[in-house]
């Protein structure tokens, strides 16, 4: 039997039209406007002057000095570099932690598997702001780590551990927030893995590390790649974690964009940075699509 949706293209597109309408008007058009605004001039009172200008993109690399000369200014490049670096470190850490955990879960019986996976996803669906705030209670002055040290006299009144507002705190927060997004896809590919292949490797005198390295990891490659994409992209654009645990000294792309709209009131520059962030995301998605296509072709042949 064919459903009405299969028989009639009209029914199909009618059912899809609200999606196109809402996402088209309230997401695609806004993104186009944002890219348009990134090529306009700043109005210091908020908003923009509607004339074409590349000032926003220029500002990323250069700064205008007193004589109106353009001088190379690396401070925004540093922010882009920091975003790539910290997001990259967080991604690597989540792989190193997420893979063994996913492996352990995949080896349990079904009941335990479901429970353990539920426990992985549970924090992810709860409010991110609150979970990051909890880290403030742990890392901050007078917090869970700080207070006992103070009590024992390891820290004096003026002393500070300096755990908060550091790149380390940002990596910790990002790892904490996005770990489930790494565990789930790796688990999904491990669950499909035929563990008899591992036995076969052992029969061929592989030790278990060899079996992991030459059998398990190559076969779960797509899961690891999916996890890396799922973690890296939101890390690059993260706002809450970087804002609350990184402080003003550790700006990344997400906090830089937000700052342009909340405080600096420079819409074109904010839009330009947001557009760059979007380009990073699209490049990542394209790379991932190429990787999965190559993977599919390899397993197909």
């Amino acid at each position: 039997m064919s459903t009405a949706f299969e028989k009639s293209a009209r029914t199909r597109w009618l059912a899809l039209s609200p999606t196109y309408l809402i996402i088209g008007i309230f997401m695609m058009i806004p993104l186009c406007i944002m890219i348009g605004i990134s090529f306009m001039e700043q109005n210091v009172y908020g908003g923009v002057h509607p004339n074409v200008s590349f000032a926003a993109y220029q500002q990323i690399l250069f700064e205008t000095d007193f004589d109106e000369n353009l001088v190379f200014d690396p401070s925004y490049l540093v922010i882009i570099g920091r975003s790539l670096l910290l997001a990259g470190i967080a991604t690597v850490v989540t792989v190193l932690v997420g893979f063994p955990v996913a492996y352990y879960i995949a080896r349990q019986n079904e009941r335990r598997r479901n429970l353990l996976i539920f426990l992985v996803t549970l924090p992810f669906w709860t409010n991110m702001l609150i979970r990051i705030f909890a880290w403030l209670l742990i890392l901050g002055r007078g917090g869970v780590i700080d207070a006992p040290l103070r009590f024992l006299g390891v820290l004096d009144a003026d002393g500070s551990l300096g755990l908060l507002y550091s790149p380390g705190a940002v990596v910790l927060g990002l790892t904490y927030t996005y770990l489930p997004l790494m565990v789930l896809p790796i688990y999904a590919s491990l669950e499909k893995l035929d563990f008899r292949l591992v036995e076969a490797a052992a029969d061929l005198y592989s030790n278990k590390w060899g079996a992991i390295r030459h059998v398990v990891i190559p076969l779960t490659g797509p899961g690891i790649a999916a996890g890396a994409i799922l973690v890296f992209i939101p890390c690059m654009g993260d706002f809450i974690t970087v804002d609350m645990l990184g402080g003003a000294k550790n700006l990344m792309l997400g906090t830089l964009v937000q700052f342009q709209f909340s405080t600096a009131r420079n819409w074109p520059f904010g839009s330009a940075v947001a557009a760059i962030l979007l380009i990073f995301v699209i490049c990542n998605m394209l790379l991932y699509a190429r990787f999965t296509r190559a993977e599919r072709q390899r397993s197909g042949s």
Partner: protein, 271 residues
Amino acid sequence: MSAPRKTKAKGAGNVAHFKSLYVLVGFFYAFLYFPIIVLVAYSFNTGTRAMVWKGFGIDWYVKVFTNGAILDAAKNSLLVGLIATILATTIATAGALALARGGAFRGKGVSMGVMTLPLIVPEIVTAVATLMFFSAIGLNLGLGNLIIAHTVFCIPFAFMPIRARLEGMDTYMEQAACDLYATEWQAFRYITLPMMMPGIIAGATLSFVISLDDFIISLMVSSAGTTTLPVYIYSMIRNGISPEVNAISTVLFGVSLALVTIYWIASKPRK
């Protein structure tokens, strides 16, 4: 190699068994839940400083539930979440039917892309783009602006469980209904819709949780008087951490927890 032991995993020997792996896994779950436990514990602290423990009590919960600004923000969050969920779930249900039951058709891939676009674009980018769009067209509907923005990013979250449910359902029942002279509408109304209900409930729950937890888009789009709970909590943290934050955070956490459990039960495939 590790000592022989019974392994519970399907079809596997004990070859790739790592005995001490559970230690790491234990640390992993502790890491995941430790901050939440700390937060809940501190919310029962009677001291006036959020981070210094004084004694056990529910003083701050009483404060939270008598704080007009918090209650207003909570009301906004619930209202926005409820309306956005209804809109997003309706839109996603129609879309999921077309995509899961439409066979292979031209434009399917593109439609999937449009459907999941809000998941791909970083939230901060969506937030500022929406802010500028509303300002450019001069749309100022108060909570209405928030409802529109929330509907957009809730659509893919409602869509995924509904589509998963539809793809796991076969069409025999509908076929039988049609053989018994049910009209297409009747077959849909009395067979397909009830069968896909768990997916719809799961999708709706998920969008409500996502809407309730959203912070950055709400921060950008909300104006005076349309503050949502997470935006209010953020401003409380910004203005110095009061122990009230611990209490209200614990409440919000509990609500999300309950909803996610509903989602988990509803989206479980029946055997």
